[in-house]
């Protein structure tokens, strides 16, 4: 009926008014049902944007369907989350840039994407919460503590001089390669009942005591950094930059890994989250490099597992940090570009920050995430104090009982103990070859 009526009245004021009134009303109702923090589109745009689809592409632990669904609900346009592994993702960004709208980038991927000219600069002033970002990202420091820059730190990968620049810029500018959205500090997971002592040093992973019961991450670019942390911890070598080794350092590290493999130190290596959970839960290993939610997943199975706090000690140890951010592909323009900015602003407005915090990752804007978390959750995940009440994961599954303290302590304690960041070394081709020597040995 309405359509017929509109058709008849054509472009007369009444038809248009009536229609936009209805749509605007629906949009307002939608916004009211959703969360209150989202403002954003003037409601008049509601019908124009509903046909927009944003394709957010990246790794599964960073590009999460539940987050995309919530964003679509709050923003009124379509969001499609697509998961690929790290390697497939960067290959897709570079070889098929038009099949992606929002690229989920690690620091080193942002550097490559800028270099290849597949992303466009993001205007810092259009990111509403930019001033509330932790200075880890915007200035490379936290509480006066300089964040180490071994590997590619999120700060190092953040700025470019001009919107179409292909080189990263050292120092603050108006243009960003990506908007950081999720990050964490990685270390070792272990079975406290079987290891028998508290682990605070990486060298326990290569301790002959755990022969045949240890595992290491088999993603060459980051596995080698975990290995480097172990060897440095054991006092075998001092690296100039664990995140950008010389050929000689790569040789030392891989030869040492081969030696360990031949002596039977490693039960296995793992590449996916699930594999690491399975190794630990099935009793195959008692100590391995691990990711925070994987440790939680083991604990949910009623198997004790601790995420080792590896705070700096005598210039050694420290966590391996990583951070994923959203990059805008070059082909975005007009309304789709506006929608992409709205999408990024939605990310920073808290819902997503609270979501990722509930499985042990962090938001770059904890002040907004806090609004979407219960005080108990914030106390546990960020302040590192005993949980006042049981803690559940993002999907409501009980995770920790009341009184538990997060492994590694507070956010500040964990993050300021990051010693290196995920990266792609200059000698990555050589490193890959040597890593395969280790695999096939």
């Amino acid at each position: 009926m309405t359509a017929k009526h509109n058709g008849k009245t054509g472009k007369s004021g009444k038809g248009i008014d009536r229609r936009s009134f209805l749509k605007a009303g629906a949009a307002v109702a939608g916004a009211a049902v959703g969360t209150d923090a989202i403002t954003g589109f003037p409601t008049i745009w509601a019908q124009e944007i509903k046909d927009i689809e944003l394709r957010h592409v990246g790794v599964s632990y960073s590009v999460v369907k539940a987050i995309g669904d919530q964003a679509a609900k709050d923003l009124g346009f379509k969001v499609t989350m697509q998961n690929l592994d790290t390697s497939a993702a960067i290959n897709r960004f570079i070889t098929q840039p038009n099949s992606v709208d929002i690229a989920d980038l690690e620091g080193w991927q942002a550097k490559l994407a800028a270099k290849r000219g597949v992303i466009q600069g993001i205007e810092a002033r259009k990111i509403k919460e930019f001033d509330n970002f932790l200075p880890i990202f915007t200035k490379g420091e936290l509480d006066g503590h300089k964040i180490p820059r071994q590997g590619i730190s999120p700060y190092e990968a953040l700025y470019i001089a001009k919107p179409d620049a292909t080189e990263l810029h050292d120092g603050v500018t108006e243009w960003l390669t990506n908007v950081p959205q999720v990050y964490n500090a990685d270390s070792i997971g272990y079975r406290p009942d079987l290891v028998g002592h508290t682990v605070t040093e990486w060298k326990d992973l290569i301790d002959p005591k755990f022969k045949g019961k240890a595992a290491i991450l088999d993603v060459p670019a980051i596995g080698i950094m975990d290995a480097a942390l172990c060897f440095e911890s054991a006092g075998l070598i001092k690296y100039g930059n664990k995140g950008n080794m010389t050929k000689k350092e790569i040789d030392f590290t891989c030869d040492k890994l081969i030696e360990l493999k031949k002596s039977g130190q490693f039960r296995a290596t793992w590449t996916t989250f699930d594999q690491s959970v399975q190794l630990m839960a099935a009793g195959e290993v008692v100590i391995q490099s691990m990711w925070s939610p994987a440790v939680a997943a083991v604990r949910v199975k009623q198997i004790p597992c601790v995420y080792a706090p590896v705070n700096f000690k005598d210039g050694k140890e420290g966590y391996r940090g990583w951070c994923n951010g959203m990059g805008l592909m070059k082909h975005l323009s007009g309304k789709k570009l506006d929608a992409a900015y709205e999408y990024m602003n939605w990310y920073m407005s808290g819902w997503q920050g609270a979501f990722v915090s509930r499985y042990g990752y962090y938001s770059p804007v904890p002040s907004t995430a806090k609004k979407f978390m219960t005080p108990a959750e914030y106390t546990f995940w960020y302040e590192g104090k005993p949980a006042p009440e049981p803690v559940t994961d993002p999907y409501g599954v009980p995770m920790e009982v009341a009184g538990t303290v997060r492994d590694g302590g507070s956010f500040v304690e964990r993050v300021t103990n990051i010693s290196c960041w995920n990266t792609l070394m200059d000698e990555s081709a050589y490193m890959n070859k040597r890593w395969n020597d280790f695999k096939v040995a």
């Binding site: 570079i94 045949g212 060459p220 594999q275 009793g283 890959n432 395969n436 020597d437």
Partner: protein
């Protein structure tokens, strides 16, 4: 003219989906890289030089060929005797077809599921180890069962035996039963019948099955990666990792070399049997 028409459907599939991609890989293999995923169009054989002079390449081929031969041997053994049983021991042809279909039942699930389902069975705390421990046959769990070459071969054999059963079943089914009866009447032993009649007449099936199994194992990296627990590597796995750091020309050169190796292998298998004659007879 009509012959061109006959082959055109095949060409329409082969050219865009096989010839063109191979050409792209071939071209990329002689380019240089800028280290950031960019290709510099030149003509260089340096990528081949690097791959062919690297000890790693030979180690990778050794591992991959080892798994190929082991898998081929066990799938052939199983495939041949399963087919033999179905064709010569099951009297009722309907029942034989039924049993043949049952052989395919495990293949209704995905390869990956079938591979992963071995893990809880073979692990340190897996079914086999717990059973052996309970029976008192072992004191310590057997670690070689999982994350080992053994596990890789088990997974491959489980996945690929059907590729042996089908062609061998097919060629055995076409053996004239009267030939076997005549041999029995003439006093041939079971072994002689097997050696002089069944094996020679199943040769085309064995050759086809071998081509399937060998090319699948040589071209795979996932089973090796998962079942060896990352303790072993494969030719394809290594150049997949080159791609992950955007070293396209090196990966392309490795891919071309693997293709050549496979072509040689397949042509050697085909020399032992005239497939065309066997199929059209």
């Amino acid at each position: 003219m009509t012959s061109w028409l006959y082959i055109s459907p095949l060409m329409l599939v082969l050219i865009p989906f096989f010839v063109l991609p191979i050409l792209v890989v071939l071209v990329a293999s002689v380019f240089e890289t800028d280290g950031f995923g960019g290709l510099i169009p030149t003509f260089t054989l340096a990528n081949y030089g690097t791959v062919l002079t690297s000890g790693l390449t030979y180690n990778l081929y050794f591992e991959t060929v080892k798994f190929t031969i082991l898998t081929w041997f066990f799938t052939l053994l199983l495939g041949f005797f399963v087919a033999y049983f179905l064709v010569f021991h099951v009297r009722n042809p309907l029942l034989a077809i039924g049993l043949f279909l049952i052989c395919t039942v495990p293949f209704w699930t995905s390869n990956i599921i079938r591979m992963i389902s071995w893990i809880p069975l073979l692990g340190k705390e897996g079914l086999i180890n717990s059973a052996l421990l309970h029976l008192g046959l072992i004191r310590e769990p057997l670690e070689f069962l999982l994350y080992s070459g053994f596990a890789v071969v088990v997974a491959y054999v489980h996945q690929l035996t059907i590729f042996m059963i089908v062609p061998i079943f097919n060629s055995m089914a076409r053996i004239d039963k009267r030939v076997v009866e005549a041999a029995i009447d003439a006093g041939a032993s079971r072994f002689d019948i097997m050696r002089l009649i069944i094996v020679p007449l199943s040769k085309s099936g064995i050759a086809l099955g071998s081509i399937f199994v060998a090319s699948i194992v040589m071209g795979d990296f996932f089973v090796t990666k998962v079942m060896s627990g990352g303790g072993s590597a494969s030719v394809v796995g290594a150049f997949y990792e080159d791609i992950s750091v955007l070293q396209y020309p090196g990966a392309a050169a490795s891919a071309v070399i693997l293709t050549v190796v496979l072509l040689v292998m397949v042509s050697l298998i085909l020399r032992t049997v005239d497939i065309r004659k066997e199929i059209t007879q």
